[in-house]
Amino acid sequence: MAPVHTWAGLLVGWVLFFVFVTGTLGYFDAEIDRWTRPELPRQDAVTAAESVQAAVAHLNRVAPEADRWFIAPPTQRERPNLYVFWERETHGESEAGRGYALLDVETAEPIEARDTDGAQTLYRMHYAMHYMPRIVGEYIVGICSMLMLIAIITGVVIHKKIFKDFFTFRPRKGQRSWLDFHNVLSVTALPFHLMITYSGLLFLAVTYMPLIVAGTYGVGSDGVRQFYDEAFPREDHAEPAGQPAALADLGSVVADAEGQWGARQVRSLSVYHPGDVNARVEVYRRIDNAVRRGDERVYDGVTGELLAAPAEQPSGVRTVRDVLLGLHEGLFAGPVLRWLYFLSGLMGTGMIATGLVLWTVKRRARQLARVTGPAFGHRVVEALNTGTVVGLPAALAAFFWANRLLPLEMDQRAEWELHVLFIVWALTMIWAATRPLMRGWTELCWLCALGWAAIPLISVLTTDRPLTRSISEGDWVFAGLELTALAIGMLFAAAAWYLERKHAPSPSRDKAGCRRANRQGAM
């Protein structure tokens, strides 16, 4: 069991670290999105009724012929600005067949922001990677997640005193301390680690195990489509009749839904076949409950009459899937629970990091004692550890810098924000591989400290939203992100300072102490 835990964890540890870091940031994706587009107005006081008026005015102008309109008012955390989307199915997947915009509520005109993907690409990378076809990334993450699940279960089995050592952390004892801390991070957040890994696999179960669908529906994309149609049926769906008819007043549709659910409970709307006599309006409810998912009401798009309300209970299998996927995404989480999710994600990240470090600490003394020096494989693991555990955070800080500092008119600006991230990450890897081991750790910690702590300063210099203004105006998205960045920077500075002190050549240390420090491999 122990070797399985060790090697399953080590092999995929670096990918998992990346997945956990980007996934954990995803719990604040909407906040990061808003921060990365500082020129957009704050719309959190806008109501759903005002939003649909503006949205319909805009969509009637740009896409009266669309098969579907989608409107998301800025009343929810995940949509800081009024968002509309339209598509024409007959045009297939071509560019002309779809479009989206963020709207000004007063003028119903699109508002332009800098070319950035905000947090969405960061978030997407945690299950599909980057610079590779989506399916390849999904399989890489899938295999790593499977090994993670194995590592978690074997970890519980080989942990000898899981209850007796529940509160145990013995600092300043080298390898013992690393193991204790690895255990603390793993055990106190164990339910989260299990849930997030298992439900992560479940997200792409049909991708990873295509034969399950193929067994019933046949091989090929038609079978998959039929499976999805049956597994996720659309209520009261109607084909367009081809007869024009005026669209119902969506304001009263929203008012009806809010009358049923409560104010600010409408999450988004879809209008199918607007302008047709068979138009349908689907209204989706805000998700603020871990068990109730996908509440919706379907209205006739011409008369505005309610056609269907949620009544039917989905199957047991579907419910289990929905709840687990809902737990993974945490869309229902309010501020308190969102921060707890974030903390749990960080603990998962720390669990992986301490596991990786533990592998090297355990072997370092023996490797350093070799006449020929540490083996190549050991040096590779050391470099990958440094370059990942303190390299990736530095690269993420660079991503936030790039969002503010790349010229606004730059071609493919959004792509370049990510290129900057990966270029900096590659440089930190090279740095980690070429510097003496502990110098590499210390210097990259300083780099992280500088990179994160300077984020509020860059906002002062490049936007009209300095931290002081965000705080005085009570704009807690901007203030929260920048204060968090500052805190992360200070934590890295503390770590760097600690490492500096610990590894400074000190004349007062006796010879035995030096030998002991060397033997313990310096961490």
């Binding site: 529940f166 509160f167 013995r170 603390v184 991070l185 629970l337 707890l340 999710y341 903390l343």
Partner: protein, 103 residues
């Protein structure tokens, strides 16, 4: 919410004090058998009350998830304090629920 976090933290503190190793960290002596029983019972009782608070404040669906999150947060902070500032760990366990009740 603060009360639920405080109760979880205090519950864990009591449970840790029921163990020789952690009692020694705080008081530098060993607990008597009676003390151990009292700490253990009150620890579990506090955790039950904390879980109940989560259910009341956050509802039957979200409450258990919040409670699991609080376990991570309270557990981690207690363990760090016990190792570096055992006196504070104990002081907080008494002070935070009082603040929680007061707020």
């Amino acid at each position: 919410m603060l009360l639920a976090l405080a109760l979880t933290y205090s519950g864990f503190t009591a449970l840790s004090l029921a163990m020789n190793r952690h009692y020694k960290q705080v008081f530098a002596t060993r607990p008597s058998p009676l003390q151990r029983v009292v700490f253990k019972a009150s620890g579990w009782a506090l955790l039950v009350v904390a879980a109940w608070r989560c259910l009341v404040v956050f509802g039957a669906a979200n409450g258990p998830i919040v409670f699991l999150g609080l376990i991570s947060a309270a557990g981690l902070s207690l363990i760090v304090l016990l190792s570096y500032r055992p006196g504070w760990a104990l002081g907080l366990a008494v002070a935070v629920p009082l603040i929680g009740v007061w707020v």
